[in-house]
């Protein structure tokens, strides 16, 4: 099988391993949500146990990427749709939250204009465009962070799934979608800050974004949201609908001849997945302090798919592990030799796709077995074989 074929081949994971992994994942998320803020806020800065604030936000950022990876795994690992445009949904969610935080700035901008964000004053705009209405209101922005990516996914999916576009063709169209959005958001007259995007945020719900407390709460909120999305995805893949979408992944024609409208199921999962990606983007922007059209770059979406491939698709928890670990590696590597990162990522991707198609978590059981066997060889199991023979 070629590299490309492998990407579209179903990668079924052994069922039954999910429970332990879920327990581990949820415990780790709970621990991060509680311990990291505690160690940041209550432990003095000179203590060895102190967690610096930059690390709090870095962790939050990784977990947002993990949530994006989770959304991709739901649609790719379970439904077989390789979307190379999920970065667009992430960015749209981010813009929705960014717009809210722009409105929160009020008259504290450089131009001191209470009615308009700075970039609009700079462009000589006289009034707020209609699509900015409502973004003063936090719940509205949150709903939009879910609704806009969901709507885009719905329209996109409705057009493609009904005409039975799939495989590589669909992947290419998703790339085109995010590229087109990037070009659109680069334009100043779109009213989203053009090239510079949205930035210089001051606060969220009245809380100062620079304060340690706000950052700690954002991290905890990200943990809770990720855990919630994970549990929701788990219950979906464990439902009859979940078994059906994996059946679609494995043999779409057969599912049609069982009387199911395959396009509706794909549409449901695609929209849901886009909304999770949007939520991830909405949590990401306050923690990094900026959203710009670069987030729509086609390469971003491809990178996110690589996290899932490396972590292990078709498991949900593997995608989360991939999102965190690969981005941690990126932080470390780009700190040392920045030029090498893209090569390292590409290399890892190819190696995993060719040699470990189940990804890190999927290959873990085999690795554990291998280690056990190595240890077993060194210490022949003399005692255990005696114990197994009750007659002796």
């Amino acid at each position: 099988m070629s590299l490309l074929q492998r990407l579209y081949a179903p990668q079924a994971q052994e069922p039954g391993k999910g429970r332990l992994a879920s327990a581990v994942l949820l415990s780790v998320l709970a621990a991060i949500a509680v311990l990291v803020p505690l160690l940041n806020l209550t432990v003095p800065a000179d203590s060895a146990f102190h967690v610096p604030t930059y690390l709090v936000s870095l962790l939050g950022k990784y977990l947002c990427f993990a949530m994006l990876a989770l959304s991709i795994d739901l649609i790719w690992g379970f439904c077989g749709i390789l979307s190379l445009g999920h970065g667009a949904f992430f960015a749209l969610g981010g813009y929705a939250m960014g717009m809210y935080m722009m409105r929160q700035i009020g008259d504290r901008g450089v131009y001191g204009n209470a009615e308009l964000p700075d970039f609009m004053v700079f462009l000589n705009w006289k009034e707020l465009p209609w699509y900015w209405y409502g973004f003063d209101f936090f719940p509205f922005a949150v709903v939009m962070a879910l609704f806009v990516p969901g709507l885009l996914a719905f329209v996109f999916g409705w057009l493609t799934f009904r005409s039975r576009v799939s495989g590589v063709y669909l992947s290419i169209i998703t790339q085109a979608m995010t590229y087109a959005l990037m070009l659109a958001f680069f334009r100043n007259d779109m009213g989203f800050g053009g090239n510079n995007g949205l930035t210089d945020f001051k606060d969220l719900l009245g809380f100062d974004l620079q304060s340690d407390n706000t950052r700690a709460v954002l991290l905890a909120a990200t943990c809770v949201a990720l855990a919630g999305c994970y549990l929701m995805c788990r219950s979906i893949v464990a439902s009859k609908l979940g078994r059906l979408i994996t059946a679609i992944r494995d043999d779409e024609a057969r599912v049609r001849f069982l009387g199911y409208r395959v396009e509706n199921f794909k549409l449901f999962v695609f929209v849901l997945s886009a909304m999770i990606a949007g939520l991830a983007g909405a949590l990401y922007v306050p923690q990094v302090g900026i959203i710009n059209p670069g987030e729509f770059a086609p390469a971003n979406s491809i990178e996110a798919v690589i996290w899932v491939a490396i972590g292990g698709r078709g498991t949900l928890y593997g995608a989360i592990a991939g999102g965190v670990l690969v981005n941690y590696a990126k932080t470390v590597l780009t700190g040392v030799i920045p030029e090498i990162w893209l090569f390292a990522l590409g290399g890892m991707f190819i190696a995993v796709t060719l040699f470990f198609p189940k990804g890190l978590v999927g290959s873990l059981p085999a690795a554990v077995d291998w280690v056990k066997r190595r240890i077993g060889k060194r210490n022949p199991p003399a005692s255990s074989s005696l114990a197994e023979e009750p007659g002796q």
Binding site: P10, A12, I236, S239, K240, L241, R243, L244, T246, A247, D250, D251, A253, R254, V255, R256, F257, L258, G259, Y260, R261, N264, F265, F268
Partner: protein, 254 residues
Amino acid sequence: MNVTGRASYSESQLYVDGVTVSFDGFKALNNLSFVVEPGEMRAIIGPNGAGKTTMMDVITGKTKPDEGRVIFKGDIDLGKRDEAAVVALGIGRKFQRPSVFENHSVFDNLELAIKSDRSTFACLFDRLDADRKSKIESTLERIGLAGERDQMAGKLSHGQKQWLEIGMLLVQDPELLFLDEPVAGMTDAETEATVELLRDLRGERSIVVVEHDMAFVHALGVKVTVLHEGSVLAEGSMDQVQNDPHVIEVYLGR
């Protein structure tokens, strides 16, 4: 061509009326007509390339006919419907290549197939009730896979996969069942068991079995339609068609 001699088709289970399908000018089906009666089991035979699979594609909504009509139960035109709509009317189909969901257990394959609300949200919140569960269990007995209940379908033998797929059709409870080469690739013992299974199903519902294995069709002992180059060459009992000079020419003259 009046092959059955019936005056009216209004009470027929399926009426294929002058269907033609061309692929790039090549007529895979050429003015094909035949009738299946309610509760009847029919065998359709014909050499490779005769158009058997294409005929099924047309009836089940996968391929649209260029000419002609397919009428279900006297007055339902299948020509305008897609696969899901055709299934909803009560028509089931087993593929030529065994196609079961390899990454699902035998039980789950039947659960996905069993007659139930096919809408997206119904599937999201579906809980298997006792009725459906016992129907699945009894079907497992019937197709001889009770012992393989929790095994992944991909681990089954070729013959077992064919039976599972037949089981997936039975739990859909269709009125009309199409089986495309159900014994292809089976061992003799498996073929015999399949004959038993199909005989057992006789009369329950209308069944159309497509085969090119003559011995198997003989063993079924039902009315036979011989297809050749996209149209009906002969129709009758197995003994009749075997002695038909056209059939002898097509099968032996090749």
